[in-house]
Amino acid sequence: MMTAFRLELRRGRMLVFWIGLLSALYAGFITLFYPTIIENSADFEKMLEVYPKELMAAFGIVGSLSDPGVFLNSYIFQFLWPLVAAIVAIILATRVAADSASGFLELPLSTRLPRLRYLSATIVGQIIALAVLAAVTVGSIWAVDLLIAPDFPIDRLALAGVHSLAMGLAIAGPTTLLAIVFLDRGRAGGLAAGILVQMYLANVIAQLSPDLTWLANLSAFHYFDLKPVIDTGTYPTADSALFLAVAIGGWILALLAFRRRDLAA
């Protein structure tokens, strides 16, 4: 299993490096602007008053942008992280389908390595990649924060990173299941991306109309609000547990399906 795991890490390293670099640059760059936001908060708030509050809420901007929770949540965690998590989780989780199509999968699975261990190795690879990216994102905010004032509390940033990781895993688990069911990277990845886009839209629409607030419950993004964590240190335990349950459920079903699935058609 370690051999398969090491190769999995090797194959994911360039993806993690480049996405991590872009995340760090973006998160660091945005964080660098926080003092400017504070200094000009009155002007920013006047400018944002032009837009309907519902629209602002739809994009996570509720309250003053000088509030660290609102600032980081709207500009980084609800914008950058879902993109990063979705891209990396979909690419890594559907790799098993691509390997099946290319014939690579037959190589390790023709050895004594059981299917479950092989897929488990790829799942651990997904977790590590997403954990590294969550750490890089939070770490880049913290690194830039050392250069500016006021400070963001590092412990709350760390908690935000943990919840972000849980959200990314919730994408990876079900996507792994789709990849095993279809053994077709295009179909599995496309379906996963399509569902995420619809969830995002559902969350936006739910903020725009009081009659449609129930739609938010169907969206993963509804459970990904980091403002309370950053502002008060209140960790969204229930939301994290929900994300982890979805992730683990997806992986378990994927493992069960992989154990009994034909590897070629």
Partner: protein, 335 residues
Amino acid sequence: MTHAIEAVGLTKWYGKRRGILDIDFQVGEGEVFGFLGPNGAGKTTTIRLLLGFLRPSSGRATVLGHDSWTDAPAAHAGLSFVSSEPGYLGELTARQQLDYMARLRGLTPGAWRAAAERLELDPTVPIKKLSRGNRQKVSVVQAFMGQEPLLVMDEPTSGLDPLMQREFLKLVAEVRAEGRTVFLSSHNLPEVERACDRVGIIREGRLVSVSTVGDLQASHWRSVNLVLAATPPPGTFDLPEVRIVAADARDVHLMVRGDVNPLLRRLATINVRDVSIQTLEIEDVFLGYYEGPNGSASRERPAGDESAMASASATAGETASAGESATATAGEAQR
């Protein structure tokens, strides 16, 4: 004899699409078993079933005594597998790819070196930069780098040049001498004839024949082209299992089935300027299995019709497989 591989009623349907149907065969320990069939006949499906990549629709297969589906890892522990189109990772070098497979098979990294040297494989080149033939060398090296008791190879020599094909056959012979078992899928008839003890022939998903190589050789036709110094005396080619396909004064095209020695002895009595003997393409041999149970159409075609060549051999193949005697002789053809 203990069976290294045993298939009993092995059947695979892909939905309504046929994979293989009710296949029964055994491969004994220490045997080199050829598995012949044209593209789409079901060779790869059979191998994927043997390796537990596919679940049988019905029937079962055991490999080294382990059920190929329910106990695949145990079966895999004793085998080395080469896919017909291995999906190597392009970014890895051959060395990295082979080390990866060696580790997964419980071998030491570098176990592949001896085989790589014999096949003149440069292990430092990334797979994506290797030609098709060199990629196939990686597969062959991978097959022979361990000491597993069973080698399962799906068209391992496609893309290899003749010298490397010869080296491959030597490696197979060495493996056989060590008492290990080889299951060799191929559509290269001469290769199978040289390498194997027994041959199974699959067509349209069904195993239509399992025979020794000797029986196979006796049942298929060869094409013999002669350039003679002078027009041969009448009846020169009146021999059993010899058919004149075309005769134009000194240029003669014959079909010979089985033993060619009687014909060679007859040729020694006349002045021959040039002779070439070719084994028919496997597709031609298989045609006999594809023409249905009667397969008589080609017998009615006139001799001298070039297009009848393949059909003639096909009829012969079919007839032989059905246990009948082929009756087309040179004399009949001349008539």
